[in-house]
Structures are given as C-alpha cells and as structure tokens.
C-alpha cells in the first residue's frame, strides 16, 4: 500500500507486534532465540508487522479458519494509550510509542477495521497539528520544548515544512 521508496514506510512495517503461535512450527525457533529448534504452539513472540500480517492472514485449514498466529493489540493501539490520547493529545509521547505512529495506525486500521481508533487518531492529529503550527510560526517559543521531542516522524516533517514556509514569508516581508 505504501510508497516503495519511502524509508519511513519500511520502518513502519517493521514495527513489532505481539503474536501468539497457534501451532508448532519446525525451524522457526530463532524467532525466540533458539536457532535450529522448533517454535512451540502458544509461545508468544514479538514479530515485525509485515511478517505478522502475512502469518495472521494465511488460513491453516479452510474449515477452522485458524491462522498461524494471533496478533494481540500492540501498545500503540491499546485502550490505555487511546484513552491517554483522548484525554490530552498533546502530552502523549508519540515518538516513544512508535517513531512512525501515523503510518503504523494506518496499516493497523486497514487490517482491523477500528473506526474508534481511527477517529481518535484523526482528532489527535488535528489537535497536535494545530499545536505544531503554533510552535512553527513562533521561533522564540522554546526550541527545546518537550512537545517537540514527542513528535513522530510525520509530525517532524510537518514542523519543518511549516517553519520553513513561515521563515520564507518573514524574510520576504522584511526586505
């Protein structure tokens, strides 16, 4: 779905999600640090999203509808985090949660339809974008502010673009 050449897309795909294996798979032991051994049924492993997605979509047997792994909700979409976002979107440290938070949410939500999460994240984007715009248009308002450290990669790009355009405008008005 994403852009093939976009590094952030690739990084977002590599975001780890907790998975539980539904069957014993020979030779996959290296995933939990046992190279050459098998991975047991019911063992919990953190897999990158691109791998987990395939394993969770592939169905083992037609009738049971069971797949290789079951994906549990990672921290980024957990109720706890979503509630924190609803309470105060600007004080959540997105960069710590997932460096490419929005891209990951996009992927997650297009796999598991979750209108509630999407709406929460869209609302958060609006509020945070407003705040980013404030910071970007005001140079004196502390560069070392904590909020600016909590931006995810997309928001950083947004901040840079906005402050760049504001800077050009200021320079033009001055001369």
């Amino acid at each position: 779905m994403g852009n093939y050449y976009d590094l952030d897309d690739i990084l977002a795909d590599g975001e780890k999600v907790p998975c539980r294996f539904n069957m014993t798979v020979p030779g996959l032991g290296y995933l939990e640090g046992n190279p050459g051994k098998q991975i047991h049924k019911d063992s919990k492993v953190e897999l990158p999203f691109w791998l987990a997605q395939i394993l969770a979509i592939c169905v083992l047997q037609e009738e049971s509808g069971q797949s290789f792994v079951d994906i549990a909700a990672p921290e980024a979409v957990s109720t706890k985090v979503l509630n924190a976002i609803k309470t105060s979107s600007t004080s959540v440290d997105l960069h710590k949660l997932a460096p490419n938070y929005y891209k990951f949410i996009e992927r997650w939500c297009s796999m598991y339809s979750d209108p509630d999460a999407t709406n929460t994240v869209m609302q958060m984007l609006k509020e945070r974008a407003f705040e980013i715009n404030n910071y970007a248009s005001n140079l004196t308002k502390g560069i070392n502010n904590e909020f600016l450290y909590s931006l995810d990669e997309f928001e950083k790009k947004l901040y840079k673009q906005t402050s760049e355009s504001n800077k050009q405008m200021r320079n033009w008005l001055r001369d």
């Binding site: 939500c109 339809s113 609006k126 947004l158 673009q161 906005t162 504001n166 405008m169």
Partner: protein, 211 residues
C-alpha cells in the same frame, strides 16, 4: 526533479510577488510612447497626462525613470483599509474581500512609489500590518477545523493561501489517508475484494509526493 521538495508544490513569496507585478495599475504618463505588443501583454500608446492601464512592472520601470506617476489603486488608502479592518473585527468567522494580490502590490507600491500614494506611508504600513495580523490570527484559528475532505478559503489572497499551503496539504493528506482506512475495510467487507481501494491509495500517494 532538481528543485528542492518544498519548492515543487509551492511558490516562494518572491515568486508570488513576481506574479503580482503582472496586475494592471493606472498610471499618469509624463511622456508619449508608441504602443507595444508583447507576447503576453499589450501596452497601449501613452500620451502625456492621459491615464492608461499598464502592468505594474511597466509602471515601475517608467516610474524609476521618472516618466510617469502611479495612480494608487482605489483600495490602497487608509480610509478604505480601515473600513476593511473594522469589517474583519465585526465578522470573526469571515475574511473581508481584498484584492488577490493585496499584500504584494501594497508592499511594492510602498517601497517604490511612496510619493504617489494619497496617505502617509507610515499610516498605510501600520493599517496593512494590522490587517495582516488579524487575518493571520483568523486563519490560524481556522486550522482547528481542518478535515479530510475540504477547506474553505473564501476571501484569502494568493500569498496568504501560499503561506498556509504546505501545512494544510500535509495535514489534510494524512487525515484522508487515516480516514480511508475505514472505507477500505468496509469496501473490502462488502465486495469481497479491496483491489479498488488499493488502486486509489496508490493514486493518493502519487499526489502526496508533490506536496
């Protein structure tokens, strides 16, 4: 492309300024000149003391050679602008209508033809600054209402839109991508395939690349 990314989808203020120089202004020539047919514009024959409309850049050249004086546009005086300012204060959710290039033209005229203006330039400058600031505050406030599908920019001028564009486009693109994840899912549920949704998504990403 070789152009830096932020210049690909957006104009620099100086480029907008350049576009503004194509606007017509009325001048009062002091010399006669034959008419000229250029590729883009036609410059009418000039006769001394007969008002003519010419592009701003021609007016500036003539002005710098002292061959004309520029008649200030009807909106560039303190009374009119003060009126507009009051209008801005009265309607906090609306922009008053100003010329498409008001910022650029007023700046150029103040710098190059201050002696032709009807009001002292410091008064004009301060009222223009007030107008710009109140409109800036309004557009900032309006950014809270961003959504994934549309934005109303009634009354904003080219330079003001240009200033907002990088921010607004990026945020709206992201909002749309997030919004689409819901639709994609419902489309996939109803049709049993999501190839349409995927194709759309590719298109969007192409667009996104220009932003």
């Amino acid at each position: 492309m070789v152009l830096p990314k932020q210049l690909q989808g957006n104009l620099m203020p100086s480029e907008v300024n350049f576009l503004g120089e194509n606007e017509l202004v009325t001048i009062l020539p002091r010399y006669s000149m034959k008419k000229m047919q250029l590729i883009g514009t036609k410059i009418p024959a000039l006769r001394a003391m007969r008002r003519e409309q010419v592009p701003l850049w021609v007016a500036l050249i003539l002005k710098s050679q002292d061959k004309c004086s520029i008649v200030p546009p009807k909106w560039l005086n303190v009374v009119y602008l003060k009126d507009k300012y009051d209008e801005e204060v009265r309607n906090p959710n609306q922009f008053s209508s100003l010329p498409w290039h008001w910022l650029e033209i007023s700046k150029i005229l103040l710098a190059r033809a201050a002696d032709d203006l009807t009001d002292p330039s410091h008064q004009l400058r301060s009222i223009l600054q007030d107008l710009r600031e109140i409109r800036l505050v309004k557009s900032r406030k309006g950014l809270k209402e961003l959504n994934e599908s549309n934005i109303v920019l009634n009354g904003l001028s080219l330079l003001e839109i240009n200033e907002l564009r990088p921010f607004v486009l990026t945020v709206m693109n992201k909002l749309r991508q997030l919004h689409d994840t819901n639709n994609e899912q419902t489309a996939a549920d109803t049709n049993g395939n999501d190839s349409d949704g995927m194709a759309d998504d590719d298109d969007y990403d192409d667009e996104g690349a220009y932003v």
